[in-house]
Amino acid sequence: MTAPLLSASHICVRLGGAEVLHDVSLALAAGEIVTIVGPNGSGKSTLIRALLGIVPVAEGRIDRAPGLRVGYVPQRLMIDRSLPMTVRRFLSLPVRASDAQAAAVLARTGMAGTEGLQLTALSGGQMQRVLLARALLGGPQVLVLDEPTQGLDQPGEAAFYRLIEEVRADTGCAVLMVSHDLHVVMAASDRVICLNGHVCCEGAPHLVASAPEYRALFGLGTKGALALYRHDHDHDHAAPHDHHHHPHHGHDHA
């Protein structure tokens, strides 16, 4: 196994005095899709932002492969209506892209021929595809997506995750993404990390979903989704051998 492209070792992140992440470690290998799940306020976005170097880590370290090319899809892009901006112009920010490059990434994300559209005229799903297209410019080795399907309906969400898988199959890039919901990313992820300020458990999606730590976090909120999931997979209750059991910090969940 080669060295990971991107890794965090025992990082702690403090924001405004509060410890948002405590002793978090993760490693992303070439070509794998890793999803970080966790409830609101569990530090998912902060972890992504620490990995990208946007927020500093108080303890621990972030390692990137030398010359690592990262493509980033932010949580949501709020375009002020006062700012006129076509899809084509957007793809040239901050690094100018050629027309051919722009056309290629738009075609890859199913947005071919939309160069002349204004960003404000795009639907939520189209906007996410354009953001993904922009992240693909420059041939990234790692794609980082922060809740990329927020505000999309269920079919839109499913289609977007299929697109991510296709892109991975095409380009071989690793994918690190954040989701608040496990069941929608189940099919698309190789590995899931359940986060709540620290890593609760991690492993293959079906193992995480049956882990007591995961159920403690999600048991009530996503009962329906979990039931749906168990319906699919309850034949597989293998011992969760690749769970990382961290000393427990007692989740405050009723």
Partner: protein, 275 residues
Amino acid sequence: MTTITTRITDTTMLDDFLVRAALAGVGLALATGPLGSFVVWRRMAYFGDATAHAAVLGVALALATDLPIQAGTLVVAAGMAIAVAGLAARGWAMDTTLGVLAHSALAFGLVAVSYFPTVRTDLSAYLFGDILAVSRGDLGLIWGGAGVVAALLAWRWQALLTATLNEDLAHAGGLNPDRERLVLVLAMAVTVAVALKVVGALLIAAMLIIPAAAARGLARSPEGMALGATGLGAVAALAGLQLSLWQDTPAGPSIIVAATLAFVLAALFGRMRPH
């Protein structure tokens, strides 16, 4: 006048106060077009007001210390702009904070200026501008300052646009949004210092916002909007001067009236045009 009669025509042309006024207005538009576009995109209208109002305090400082007026306004406007940007970075409730700063800067400035009886008489020159009294030296400062602002914004254009769209996107692209904000803050201070003579402290923000807002409806790209705002600003300056001559109205407010007419026309045109 001791002008030598053999001087080349464009220098003698600058002897005409109207030509100087027109050039001052066009020069200012070079800075307010692109900067005003960012003010609109980033919703910094109140920020512009606070910085511009601080210029009155700068006039008082200049009079008290025998500095040139522009130097005094530049120092105080830069101080105000940096203070406001610093508060914004710390997450203060900006609407209220800016309201307090903008209005108190104006009030303190007016009180401070009142200690200088010579200024009391022509206070309106600082509040509404005195474009018809622009000297050659003023013209040099206006074009120099506006040129610096335009060059600074052109140099940081890609980074500024990215940071305006989304700060995380800028960070992930290896840019520092705080540094780009500082570029805008400094550009704002310089613009205020050079605009004081042209439209006055009370109307600088109008000169930033109205041409840019007018250009919005006509533009399809950020560059188009910045150029459109520059062009409309220049046309408004010239038309405002005409209006001022024709109707004997104050020049600064007349320029803003012309810009507002352009805004209304652009809004109507934008409505009629199929989307």
